[in-house]
Amino acid sequence: MIPDNCKYTETHEWIKIEGTLAAVGVTDHAQDALGDITFVELPRPGTIVKKGQACALVESVKAVSDIYAPISGEIAEINRSLEDAPEKINEDPHGNGWILKLKDFDEHELSGLMEAEAYKEFLESEE
């Protein structure tokens, strides 16, 4: 599952522009590789993050992984429901499992990210 309306990073985050906001989550491939997710640590809204900076944390039965900001911006919203139900990331990584939303982001940085097709090829090359 690699939706066309998202852009992707090599660290397996997706980003989707929703008007003035940009939603960020982890890809289906990432949630599958991580296994059952048991805990998510979210940033404080208002935090300014730079492209590539660790801005959230996902803990699974196998590992603890940082979530890196795909582009620079300010944390506008966080998915607080993940605090009680982190398994939403496993169940619906592109929907209810979104992690955070950025605002005032740098749109130019989007061009450096992969389209769905490129991400699919990237996954294949990684295997």
């Binding site: 805990f39 640590e41 404080r44 803990e59 603890v64």
Partner: protein, 445 residues
């Protein structure tokens, strides 16, 4: 792993690699004033000689003093069974094992210890121990900074001056805005404290009983913290928890304390035991190891180290703390002590401390020239004002066979004539009487 000494040949090789010609040149970067004058150490001595040397040295200590000294560390009775159990070879280690799940017995003991701490404090989760009461409180402070993202910390003046010194020293380079309220003898000054709490406050730290022995209900302070989005931290005496309103009941978020009173000998200042218990929602930010109870694939009960993703062997520099070890042996002592006493036994110890301290107050009040600070209520410790320097008085009392207490002037300037007196269940009515007579003798002479 066997120890392999390096040879002259290997040393030469290493120096060559480093690009220096001698060991002296290698260490030349250390200023001469800081280098040892000589590396020559005395000839070896026989075991017998070493034994008698240290025996002589030990005899220079004052020992067998009847102790009224406290200040956070107390002379409680330790049942012989505590030593007998912890010295069993299966248990006798200061560490949680490196292959923890193989050591089910140790893990079970740690789990039961955590359960004791939770029940004593009325909190939801405890860790498997920290170094001591002071470092545990520092870790709690550190958690509050991390959890709130705020930099102002309000410290009540009733918190042990030793702990405060430890926290400030650890936090020197953390740019934290510490605010202290002044408390002398009494309970927390609510007006001053509340004035310092606002939406930039990360935490408020209190202690119960406070350093002067005063007991208090801090529920209102907790409420004020929560209204401002700050965390409420309390340091407690675990014995006192048996009969006082518990920190959990008052609503505290993080509770720490010194576990020494729980079956750990005074031993000239350590090793001691730091304990920590938190609300369940804060567990991911709690430092230290946590033992959990679970079932295996055959549904049999077992114990594991749990939530290890907080720890430095997994999180590296992002770990909740860089404290990598714990005080497993001291925690085991606390566990055995609490198990032997049970709920009723511990309550009885606490009640005896309180009653005997009250009796001591009455005896000391009768001495002309001594003022007993009698309000607010205290637990096992109280302060008295002497008609002389308290340090001088303590010196004279030692000659009479008593550790008379803690001279408050050591940490509070202007209080040179105040003595902090502690009374545990070990002190008999006779000893308290002897103490009062000796003190009268010293102050009235």
């Amino acid at each position: 792993m066997t120890y392999i000494a390096n040879t002259d040949e290997q040393r030469k090789e290493m120096l060559k690699r480093c690009g220096v010609s001698s060991v002296e040149k290698f260490f030349a970067v250390i200023p001469a004033s800081l280098q040892p004058k000589s590396f020559s150490i005395p000839q070896g001595r026989s075991e017998l000689e070493v034994h008698s040397f240290f025996k002589k040295l030990a005899n220079q200590n004052y020992y067998n003093l009847i102790s009224f000294l406290g200040g956070g560390y107390y002379d409680h009775f330790i049942p012989s069974a505590v030593d007998a159990i912890v010295e069993r070879s299966e248990f006798y280690t200061a560490y949680t094992p490196y292959q923890p799940e193989l050591s089910q017995g140790t893990l079970q003991a740690m789990y039961e210890y955590q359960t004791h701490i939770c029940r004593l404090t009325d909190m939801e989760v405890a860790n498997a121990s920290l170094y001591d009461g002071g470092t545990a409180l520092y870790e709690a402070f550190q958690m509050a900074i991390a959890l709130t993202g705020r930099r102002k910390v309000v410290v009540d003046g009733g918190v042990s001056p030793i702990y405060r010194k430890m926290i400030y020293s650890y936090a020197t380079n953390l740019s934290v805005d510490f605010r202290e309220t002044v408390v002398i003898h009494g309970q927390t000054d609510r007006e001053r404290l509340f004035n310092l709490i606002d939406d930039s406050t990360a935490a408020v730290i209190t202690q119960n009983p406070n350093f002067f022995g005063a007991i208090d209900d801090h529920s209102d302070i907790v409420q004020r913290c929560h209204d401002n989005g700050a965390l409420a931290l309390q340091s407690v005496n675990p014995i006192a928890c048996a009969i006082l309103k518990t920190p959990g009941d008052m609503g505290f978020d993080i509770v720490t304390g010194e576990g020494q009173p729980l079956g750990i000998p005074l031993s000239f200042g350590g090793p001691y035991l730091g304990f920590m218990a938190v609300r369940k929602k804060l567990v991911r930010k709690m430092p230290g190891r946590i033992v959990g109870r679970t079932v295996d694939t055959k549904n049999k009960e077992g114990f594991v180290l749990t939530l290890q993703a907080r720890e430095q062997h997994i999180r590296r520099e992002k770990a909740t703390s860089n404290i990598c070890t714990n005080q497993a042996l001291c925690a085991l002592r606390a566990h055995v002590y609490l198990s032997l006493l049970g709920t009723d036994g511990l309550r009885e110890v606490a009640q005896l401390c309180l009653d005997k301290a009250e009796y001591a107050k009455e005896r000391l009040k009768a001495i002309p020239g001594i003022e007993v600070i009698d309000s607010p209520p205290t637990f096992n410790e109280f302060s008295v004002r002497l008609p002389m320097d308290a340090g001088e008085c303590v010196g004279q009392m030692i000659e009479k066979g008593f550790a008379a207490g803690f001279p408050l002037g050591r940490y509070y300037s202007g209080m040179e004539d105040f003595l902090l007196v502690a009374v545990t269940e070990k002190r008999t009515k006779y000893e308290i009487g002897q103490f009062a007579e000796a003190l009268e003798d010293v102050v009235c002479r």
